[in-house]
Structures are given as structure tokens and as C-alpha cells.
């Protein structure tokens, strides 16, 4: 336990220095006293005894120093004044400190966020030998995930390879859970083969896991529940096994509860059997599933992949259409479920390097500012050197200053990254795998600290070496004069580069920020608080379980009749004001290119896409959409007829706000890869308001073209407008109705939140904040950078200006000279910057600024010019005030 005593003392020495020094003093005094007494005993006079003792003892101050030096923290003590000075310098140059720190903070945030991503990339689920769990997948010829593994592949691989055992599959599905007498709501269900539980090697807490017998078609539907869900939704009822709940209206029996912390395969709290009937699915058909298993003992991943490839040629030969271009791969499980497995390690590392380079780029800019400041401290440095400070000592001091700045930036950057991370997780808690903890791991914090040191090196050491390395002697000789570093073409080049980068990059960054801001501001024009949109799904066969009540379809009815019955029953509910339907929910539909008879009136119409959807005659009425011209659809408009209704933004985009009624238009559906024939010509019979008012920003409106529709085999979006009761209160009732009319059919319900933009809206708003923060810091950094460099350049010319004045130059001539040089530097920078911006915009296909470069580039250029000229004016005024005699004396 001696080390405890020792450390207690160490800390005491560090934090209670005054007390420790006092004790040292007391100890010395005691020593002197004893020595004096000894001398007295030897027969000296008191005075002589005392003098002799002091003489033997020597200089107390020197001892004190030596005693201090013997302590462990001596190097720290030596640094203390540096740290103090550093903090003072930071406070003395607030503009430089704030912009420098903000810029570097954003750099650190980007780099650490990426570093956290790397941690996910190399993560493994926290299961027994979790790193042996792998996923099997296909990449297409472009090395991208084709999301094309199906149950057919599971079946093939189960029979043809031996490197990966317990092959399993899951798919993620969103269902609506209702517990009799309990909670209801949307849940995420893992439809997984029973073997998935064998892969996880985690036994259930209660009951049993899923068994292969649960997978058989016609077997009773079994459900396993996660621990959190069991506690939250079922009150930790230990008798839950055997209870019945409903998913999307289908009854399921709870067969087991999993222990705490188990949310495999991704972030799931409900598990249902993946009905595995490969015979029903041909190659490449059926839903996409994620296939995974455990590497057989002793088999490396590369060997498993090699075995898989040996199976592949046969498939490619037999089924060239489906498998001809696919390459099977075996990857760590985490990489596949995070969908990052298409990137090889070196790409991930390169990206990480680039993320760190962002910080390095910012640091270089800050370094040039610091260099300017350091150069203006030439005199101070020279004096300190003359007084005996070594170059190392001065460089250390400047490094500590930079480190103080970059450490602040690193802390801020970590906070930003952490906040961003938590925000992302809070928007959708299930969006990350369950084993990824929100927050920053210790390794990330360490990485950020490493980045701080790197940034401090760039910001502090490089300018310090440059400033201390040369002509110190001459600086000393010229002390009192204003000349320090000789600035020539290098400095001009630096300014030109700085201006050019600002003009090229800033408009793009601002454009992205501005566009994402505007995109996030689409307000619905319909009473969103009263609306619900539901949709029956058709993509899966209805479950074969015995229905609770005879359904329309089982009585021989069609899907159309099912939907009609659903609408009829919902309309009869109390609190329902109106029910209508459309082929697509608001703000979506089939994207089409529009052709206008007699030519297109607006220039950019060719690249604008309209959304086409079929609507019921009552649609605009239920949504409360204003009819601006003509008429809405009536009973006379049959599907397939020639009448169409278009939205306000449609008219603006395609008809140039001209007369719309009576014009004929036709659309060509945009479908990937296929060439589609244009549709028939349609006559515009009405113009309605947009469903979402996109703040009058034409770029973000989605022009809509409506066609009459009727209920048919295709699923429709049913829109319900309520009155008197909140839409949310109606949801349980809707599920009840759906359970009777269409038992087992999956259904989605969207309430006011989703219609308002919901999660997407929040995500967009959040990214807007992030992008704005980056923009702001880059903007500030550029403006301050340019001003600092230009003002510094003028400051360096004080003496020259003074001499010119002394030689009789008029103030006007001198001012002209000063501004001419600044203007030249700015003009050069602007020219290069505008050229770069134009090139970048062209390379991106107009996506970066979306046609706003004519506003953004001049705006930024004006800002840069203003910053540059202002920065010139201040020092220029000061320089004119320099008395010619003073300037001459400095020669």
C-alpha cells in the first residue's frame, strides 16, 4: 500500500504547492538551527556560528530549485507558465481562437464520427464466439449489394457447402401489434428461421425459441418476445407463454421470452418464424432475406468464400439470367447487416484518412493565421532568444498554445459528434444494431486527442519553426522597426489560394445547406391533424390461419371488394368525416415525364418529373383541397378517360402559369431500364392547390397530375378525415375493422406525424443543423482567414509606406498603392475560384447548387471582397498615420 501514500503525496505536491513549499522552508530552517547549535557547541560565538551555518548550507534558492527538479512533475511545472501564457494568448486573440477552434471542432467531429463508424465496421454481435458468425451475400458485377439473396439461395447453400454451419435467414418486417386488453402499436419483427436461435446460442428465459416445426405452412403462428418488450408491453407476466396476441390482425401465440440484452439479429424484440417453403420460390424470386450462419470450426472466412464460389459457376451456368453476374461473398456478420460489406478494408481506411484530412486542411488554414500572428510576435521571440531561451523552449511554448486551442476544438468536436450520434439514434432507436452503444467509445476519445495533437503540430510547430528558424539576428537588430519576416510572392500566393478556395467551395456548401433547409420546409395544405392514411398490402399471400370471422375474400369476393368493404365500414365509424382513396399516398405516385401538346412552355420542364396518381372523385373534397380552376373529378370521369386534374405547381412548371384548362398533356412513366410508351393524351379539366406548400420554392415542389381511378386489384391508399376524435384514437378501431374485413392482410397506417414528414422531416431538419454548422464555421474561417492575411500583409508594409510618405508621395497615391495590391490579390483569387466553382458545378451535373450558382457565387465573392478590402482599410489608415520621420528613423 506504499504506492497509495506515494501518490497521495504526489498529488499534494501538485495541488497544495504553497503548503509544501512552506514545509520545505521549515525543514531548511531546522537544518540551519541544528548546524548553528552544533557550531555553538564547538565554541563559536553565536554570530559566527550562525554565519558559518549559513555558509555551509549554501544558497537556499538553488536548493529549492534542485529539490523541485528532483520531483516527478518537474517537466509539468516547467510547462505551467506556457499553459498560462497560451490561455492568455487565446483570450487576447478571440477572433482567431473562436474561428480556429470552431473550424477544427467541425473537423474533429467529422473525423471522429467516421472513426466511430469504423468501430461498427469491425464490430461483432456480443454472442458466444460472435466473431465466427458470418453472413453470405451476393455482390453484382459493379461490386454492389444486389439485395437479391432469397430463400432459394438459403436452400441451395444449405445443400451445397459445409464451411458455414447452421445456415439461417431473416427478414425485417414492420407489423402492427395488438394485445387483447393491452397495448397496440407498430413493432419491428424479425422473421427468422428457427436455426437463427441455434446460431445465437442463447436459450430463452421463458418457454422455448422458435422451432423448425413453426416454419411449416399451416403451423400455428408462434411468436418469441424480447425482454424489454415483455416488461414494457406485458408487465413481465411470467405466465405469458401460451397467450395470444395479434400482428397485423393475425393471431400469434407467444411461445417464449428471450433474456435481457438479446436483440439478435439486428435490433429486434419480436421473432416470428420465417415461413420457409423454398419450393414456392424459384431462383431470384420471393422476398430478400439476409443469410447467415457460423463458420465451421477451424475454417477461415476466405476458405468459406472459396467454397461458395465453387458452387457458383454451376448456378451461373444453369441460371445465367439470375446468377450470371453475381459473385458470392462471406463477410463478418456486422458488415453485412450494416450494409457496408461491399467496401473492402482499404477503402474504409482510405475514407478514414480523408476524414482526418478534412481536419488537416482546416488546421493548415488555422496554421496560416497563427503564422501571421507568430510573425507579428517576431520581436517578442527575438528578445526571448536573446535572453537565453532555447529554440526548443520557444517552439514548445508555441506548440502548447496551439495544443490549448486544438484541445478545446477536440472537446467541442467530440461533443458535436456525440450529440449528432445520439440524435440519429433517438430519431430511430432501431436503426443501429443492438450491440452498438450510442455514445463515443473510449477509443474514439483517444483518437480525438490524437487528432488534437496532430492539429497542434500543424498549427503550432510548423509556423513556430518557420518563425524562429531564420534571421533572428537581423530581427533583433531591426527591433523597434516593423519589419519581421520578409513577405513576398509566397504570401501573395497564400492569399490567392485562400480566396480561390473560399470562392470555389463556399457557394457549394451554402447551396447544399440552403437547399436542404428549403426541402425540410414543406407544410401540408390539408388539415393534417385530422388525417389518417392506411393501406392494405398485397405483396404477401394472406395467412392461412382460420379467420376470426368470415372475410369478404373467403366468401368469394375480390380484393377490390375487400377494399370497398373496408372503406364502407370505416366511413360508418363515429368521428369519421370522410373517407377517400388514391393509388398512392400524398406526395408520392408514379414519376412521369410530361409532354405538353404544342410544346413545353418552361425551360427546365424537361428535367422535372411529375408524380402521377389515380384518385377517387371525393379525394379533393376529403383533403379540403381548393379547386383553383375548372372542376374536380365527377361521377362522369371513368378510369381510362381523357380528363385529368393537375396541381398548381404542375401548371407553373409545365405550362408557365399560362392557361391550363383545355390543354392536352401526356406522361411517360419512368421505370428503371425499360423504355415505356407514352400514355394517352389527356385534357386538363381542373387545377387544384398543391397538397404540400413548399414555401413557393419551385425546385422542391412535386408537380402532381391526377387521373380518375376506381377500386381494383391494386391496393389503394385510404385517406380518412376525422372530426371530434383524434386520428390516433381511431387506429385501434381500424385494426379491428381490418381484422374482420381482411384478416391476415398486412396493413400500414400513417398518422399526422408521418403525413407531416414525420421521421424524415426530423432527420432532414437535423441534417440541416449539421450542414449549417459546417457552413458557418467554414464561412467564418474563410472570412477571418482572408482578413487576417490581408491585414497582416499591409501591416508588414508600414515602414515602406512611411518612407514613401516621407519622400513626398501624396496620401492618395499611397492608398492607391496599398489597395491596388490587395485588389490584385483578390482578383486573382476570384478568377481562379470562379473557374473552379464552375468546373465543380459542371462535374456534378448541376446537382451541387441546383442552378443557384448565379446568386451564390457572386454573393460569396462579394463577401470575400468586402472582407479583404475591410481588412486592408484598417491597417492602411493606421499606416497613413505613421509619421514620416519615424519611418525614416527606422532605416
Amino acid at each position: 500500500m506504499e504506492w497509495i501514500t506515494r501518490w497521495r503525496k504526489r498529488l499534494r505536491v501538485l495541488f497544495r504547492r504553497a503548503e509544501v513549499e512552506r514545509e520545505l522552508e521549515e525543514e531548511f530552517a531546522f537544518h540551519l538551527e541544528m548546524e548553528t547549535r552544533n557550531n555553538l557547541r564547538a565554541g563559536m560565538t553565536p554570530e559566527a556560528a550562525r554565519r558559518q551555518a549559513v555558509l555551509t548550507f549554501g544558497g537556499r534558492e538553488r536548493f529549492r530549485e534542485e529539490v523541485r527538479d528532483a520531483r516527478w512533475f518537474a517537466p509539468l511545472i516547467e510547462l505551467t507558465p506556457d499553459v498560462k501564457l497560451a490561455l492568455r494568448m487565446l483570450a487576447k486573440h478571440p477572433a482567431l481562437s473562436v474561428t480556429g477552434a470552431l473550424g477544427m471542432a467541425v473537423g474533429v467531429a467529422i473525423a471522429t464520427a467516421f472513426f466511430s463508424f469504423m468501430a461498427f465496421y469491425y464490430s461483432a454481435p456480443p454472442l458466444d464466439e460472435g466473431d465466427r458468425i458470418v453472413a453470405l451475400d451476393y455482390l453484382d458485377s459493379r461490386n454492389e449489394d444486389c439485395f437479391c439473396t432469397t430463400l432459394f439461395d438459403l436452400d441451395t447453400w444449405r445443400g451445397s457447402q459445409r464451411s458455414v454451419r447452421q445456415l439461417s435467414a431473416f427478414r425485417d418486417s414492420h407489423r402492427y401489434l395488438s394485445v387483447p386488453g393491452g397495448t397496440t402499436g407498430g413493432v419491428r419483427v424479425a422473421e427468422m428461421t428457427a436455426s437463427g436461435f441455434d446460431v445465437a446460442r442463447v436459450p430463452p428465459l421463458l418457454g422455448r425459441p422458435l422451432l423448425p416445426s413453426d416454419e411449416a405452412q399451416g403451423a400455428p403462428a408462434a411468436l418469441v418476445i424480447g425482454n424489454d418488450e415483455w416488461r414494457r408491453d406485458f408487465g413481465a407476466d411470467r405466465g405469458i407463454v401460451g397467450r395470444e396476441v395479434r400482428l397485423d390482425g393475425t393471431p400469434y401465440t407467444v411461445v417464449g421470452v428471450m433474456p435481457e440484452g438479446f436483440r439478435f439479429p439486428y435490433n429486434h424484440g419480436y421473432w416470428a418464424a420465417l415461413r420457409s417453403a423454398p419450393a414456392l420460390h424459384g431462383p431470384g424470386e420471393g422476398p430478400h432475406v439476409t443469410i447467415f450462419g457460423r463458420l465451421a470450426s477451424g475454417v477461415p472466412m476466405a476458405a468459406a468464400e472459396a467454397e461458395l464460389r465453387s458452387v457458383s459457376p454451376r448456378l451461373a451456368r444453369e441460371l445465367p439470367a439470375a446468377y450470371g453476374t453475381l459473385r458470392p461473398i462471406v463477410r463478418p456478420y456486422a458488415q453485412v447487416v450494416l450494409d457496408v460489406h461491399q467496401y473492402p478494408d482499404w477503402i474504409v481506411w482510405t475514407m478514414q484518412l480523408f476524414a482526418a484530412l478534412v481536419l488537416a486542411a482546416v488546421a493548415v488554414t488555422v496554421a496560416s493565421l497563427v503564422y501571421a500572428r507568430t510573425a507579428s510576435r517576431q520581436a517578442e521571440i527575438a528578445v526571448r532568444t536573446a535572453l537565453g531561451a532555447s529554440r526548443r523552449r520557444i517552439v514548445t511554448q508555441l506548440f502548447v498554445e496551439a495544443l490549448a486551442l486544438s484541445s478545446l476544438a477536440a472537446v467541442a468536436g467530440l461533443l458535436i459528434a456525440n450529440a449528432a450520434f445520439r440524435q440519429i439514434v433517438s430519431i430511430d432507436p432501431g436503426s443501429l444494431p443492438y450491440w452498438v452503444e450510442p455514445g463515443l467509445p473510449a477509443s474514439t476519445v483517444a483518437y480525438a486527442m490524437g487528432l488534437a495533437v496532430l492539429a497542434a503540430f500543424i498549427v503550432g510547430i510548423v509556423p513556430a519553426l518557420a518563425a524562429t528558424g531564420q534571421r533572428l539576428q537581423s530581427t533583433l537588430r531591426q527591433m523597434g522597426g516593423a519589419t519581421g519576416l520578409q513577405l513576398g510572392s509566397t504570401w501573395t500566393a497564400l492569399i490567392v489560394v485562400q480566396v480561390a478556395v473560399a470562392v470555389a467551395v463556399l457557394p457549394i456548401v451554402i447551396g447544399i445547406a440552403w437547399n436542404s433547409y428549403r426541402e425540410s420546409r414543406a407544410e401540408p395544405t390539408f388539415p393534417v391533424e385530422e388525417m389518417l392514411v392506411l393501406r392494405l398490402k398485397r405483396d404477401e399471400a394472406p395467412a392461412r390461419e382460420a379467420p376470426a370471422a368470415p372475410s369478404v375474400e373467403q366468401a368469394g369476393g375480390s380484393f377490390a371488394e375487400t377494399q370497398a368493404e373496408l372503406i364502407r365500414r370505416i366511413a360508418a365509424e363515429p368521428g369519421v368525416l370522410g373517407v377517400t382513396y388514391a393509388s398512392a399516398p400524398p406526395r408520392s405516385g408514379q414519376p412521369v415525364r410530361i409532354e405538353v401538346e404544342g410544346g413545353v412552355a418552361t425551360a427546365d420542364a424537361a428535367r422535372v418529373v411529375a408524380l402521377s396518381s389515380g384518385v377517387a372523385p371525393s379525394y379533393f373534397d376529403v383533403f379540403g383541397t381548393q379547386v383553383l380552376a375548372g372542376r374536380p373529378f365527377g361521377s362522369g370521369d371513368a378510369p381510362g378517360g381523357a380528363a385529368t386534374v393537375v396541381s398548381r405547381s404542375f401548371v407553373r412548371r409545365f405550362l408557365g402559369d399560362g392557361v391550363a384548362l383545355g390543354r392536352r398533356v401526356r406522361g411517360t412513366a419512368i421505370a428503371a431500364g425499360d423504355s415505356v410508351q407514352p400514355g394517352p393524351w389527356l385534357e386538363i379539366v381542373g387545377v387544384v392547390d398543391d397538397l404540400y406548400d413548399e414555401s413557393g420554392e419551385p425546385e422542391f415542389q412535386r408537380p402532381a397530375i391526377y387521373l380518375p381511378t376506381a377500386l381494383g386489384a391494386a391496393p389503394v391508399s385510404v385517406a380518412i378525415r376525422t372530426r371530434g376524435i383524434g386520428p390516433d384514437a381511431l387506429v385501434p378501431r381500424l385494426w379491428e375493422i381490418a381484422g374482420k374485413v381482411a384478416p391476415g392482410r398486412p396493413m400500414t397506417v400513417a398518422g399526422p406525424d408521418e403525413l407531416r414528414g414525420g421521421d424524415t422531416g426530423r432527420t432532414v431538419r437535423f441534417s440541416v443543423i449539421l450542414v449549417s454548422l459546417v457552413t458557418l464555421s467554414v464561412l467564418l474561417l474563410s472570412a477571418v482567414g482572408i482578413s487576417a492575411m490581408m491585414s497582416f500583409a499591409v501591416t508588414r508594409r508600414y515602414r515602406e509606406i512611411g518612407i514613401r510618405l516621407a519622400l513626398g508621395a501624396s496620401r492618395r497615391q499611397v492608398l492607391q498603392g496599398i489597395f491596388a495590391r490587395s485588389a490584385l490579390q483578390l482578383a486573382l483569387g476570384l478568377a481562379v475560384g470562379v473557374a473552379l466553382a464552375t468546373l465543380l458545378e459542371r462535374l456534378s451535373g448541376g446537382e451541387l447548387m441546383r442552378g443557384q450558382q448565379h446568386v451564390l457565387v457572386p454573393m460569396v465573392a462579394a463577401l470575400v471582397i468586402a472582407a479583404g478590402l475591410l481588412a486592408t482599410a484598417g491597417p492602411a489608415r493606421k499606416a497613413l498615420g505613421v509619421h514620416p520621420m519615424e519611418a525614416l528613423r527606422q532605416e
Binding site: E2, T5, K9, H31, M34, E35, V67
Partner: protein, 111 residues
Amino acid sequence: MSPHASNDILRGTLDLLILKALSLEPMHGWSIAQRLEQLSGDALRVGAGSLYPALQRLEERGLLVSEWGVTEENRRARYYELTGAGRSALGEESRSWREYVRMMDTILRTT
């Protein structure tokens, strides 16, 4: 730099001597100096300028602990005491010192 080297040798020797002086009982700084003077037959005078830094160093290395106590004359003084580590360091360093002397002696005799 040679002055440094000779300092280091002196320093190492002084550390060993202090440990030896403290091996019998805890002592304050002045009496350590006195004891060393005595033991060396007045041949060695340890100045305060070497003594106190050495005490700090040894305490920092965990070979000594110090505690404020009271002398026989009722005067407050800082007493230094060997720790377990100090005791074994004394044994170790005495041994290697003797070996060093023996080696030097052998060399000096043969050449």
C-alpha cells in the same frame, strides 16, 4: 558531457549512503548528514545542497517515506524512514557496490 557523468556517480553513491544511514532508525535531514560524517570518520561532509534533493528523489522513488515528528528537544522536524522497497534497494545496491569495488580493484591490481 563528463561533469554530468561524475555527478551521476556521486549522486548514486549518496543515495546508497543515505539508505545505509537510515537503516537503523528514522532520522531527520540534519542528523543524516551528521551520521554520514560520523560513519566516514569526518571524511565526508554532505552539503544540504546535495542532501535534500537526494531525499526528495529517494522519496519519489518510493524508497523512503517522510513524516513530521518532534525531536528530543521538542522541535518539529521531518523524519525520513526506509520503506520495504528502500530496505531491499539498500541490500541490492550494497551488493552491486561491493562487486563494483571488487572489479575496479581487480583491474587496478592487474594493470
